[in-house]
Amino acid sequence: MPLRTRRSRRTRRGLTLVVLLAVSIAVITLDYRGQAHGSISWAKRAAHDAFAPVQDAVDDVARPVGSFLAGAVHGSSLEDQNADLQREIGALRRQALAGQATRSALRELEILDNLPFAGGIPTVTARVTAFSPSDFAATIQLDRGTTSGVAVGMPVVGGAGLVGQVTETWSSGCTVRLVTDVDSSVGVRFGAHGDLALVQGAGLGKALAVNLVTPGTVLHKGEVLTTSGLQNAQFPPDIPVARVTSFSSTPSATQEAVKAAPLDNLSILQYVDVLQWQSAP
């Protein structure tokens, strides 16, 4: 290959990369500074709305395919009969397990119907459809969106307490940032004197950090932290958030080192309630 052609191709290649990087950086900057937030949100909503039926269709197809494969082979020999019996036993076991799963889902829905802490706030019950599409954020997706009255900023609770907050919505679903996400922080109150603190996420499956607790504050293991509901708070007051799991203090520390755990098991949620509540502007 002639040297000039090779050099011009190299130049073109480099130019392509520079253009792509420049466009990427421009898009990141616009999103980061909020200047293109409207159009990016619109594009994300449209993509989610377009993708939702595909996801449902794939789910619908995947299940019958499994059942079809299980029942596809049928024979008359003893071995085949034996295999059929084994398959029936397997199916009965699966039915029993499915029954258990249904019972557990029903229990979850019953608890959500009688939340002791929602205090008359209207709720939208939603099914969890996906866990964290990104490895770099602790989020869940729900099957209720703007058409059901869900809006960005609304708190989301499970049967035991706060789960997170809605960060993105589209017509048939929404994304919820879990309390365990590193970007999540919730103002809480605890103890007989109503001490204030800030619960911050540290990643899915990791303990929550409870910050701004003055050294010497009386704390108990298992103590429940509830939302403070202070002026301009992101959450209504008195929603249980987490349970204290450990605390310690060193002489020179400016605050107690307190760890807590969410009250719901966030990795196996099936149903949650979106509280139709928004903080005062």
Binding site: D31, F136, S267
Partner: protein, 174 residues
């Protein structure tokens, strides 16, 4: 890129996106899951060279970002670099070894996830490096090695080698 290349590439991106969000997202280990979307630019760079790898990675990244809660454009930036880098690093290699795509995919996925987390941290989210990077590397890197062969084959179908430009003496474009 021809119209048929563009159509096939669109199909590949959509199919991998559907597989990612309907199947792979449910395979969670320690909070992380396999990531086929990050494999797309790597496979494109491997199969079609640096330039087409960068363009494919950019488009796949923009599409992936529509479904992620992180900053929009981050995957496009990392995808462009991954496609270009993988193409550049592998263009002189003999492609007959079956183990080459899995090794390249695993190494490039680790680099891509690291770059993604560092860029996220630079943009004000240090938790991406501190809390999320380690589980993502542990799960997504071996998964990339497993998924590499089918994804590279699929992307190679979408981005076939370009026709020879310089005749018998000139060689191909790769």
């Amino acid at each position: 890129m021809t119209v048929s290349d563009a159509a096939r590439s669109t199909l590949v991106i959509v199919v991998v996106l559907v597989v990612q969000h309907t199947l792979l997202d449910t395979v969670r280990v320690g909070g992380a899951h396999p990531d086929a979307m990050v494999l797309l630019p790597i496979a494109a760079g491997y199969a079609a060279g640096p330039e087409r790898g960068a363009v494919f990675g950019f488009v796949a990244g923009l599409v992936a970002d529509l479904f992620l809660p992180t900053t929009y454009g981050l995957s496009a930036l990392v995808g462009s670099l991954l496609g270009f880098g993988t193409g550049l690093a592998t263009q002189g290699l003999v492609r007959s070894s079956w183990w080459l795509p899995p090794v390249v995919a695993a190494a490039a996925t680790a680099a891509g996830l690291g770059g993604y987390a560092i860029l996220g941290a630079v943009l004000g989210d240090p938790g991406m490096v501190r809390s999320y990077l380690a589980p993502a590397l542990v799960v997504a890197t071996p998964a990339a090695a497993v998924l590499a062969l089918p994804v590279v084959r699929f992307v190679s179908w979408a981005l076939p080698p370009r026709a020879t430009v310089h005749g018998p003496a000139g060689g191909g474009t790769r």
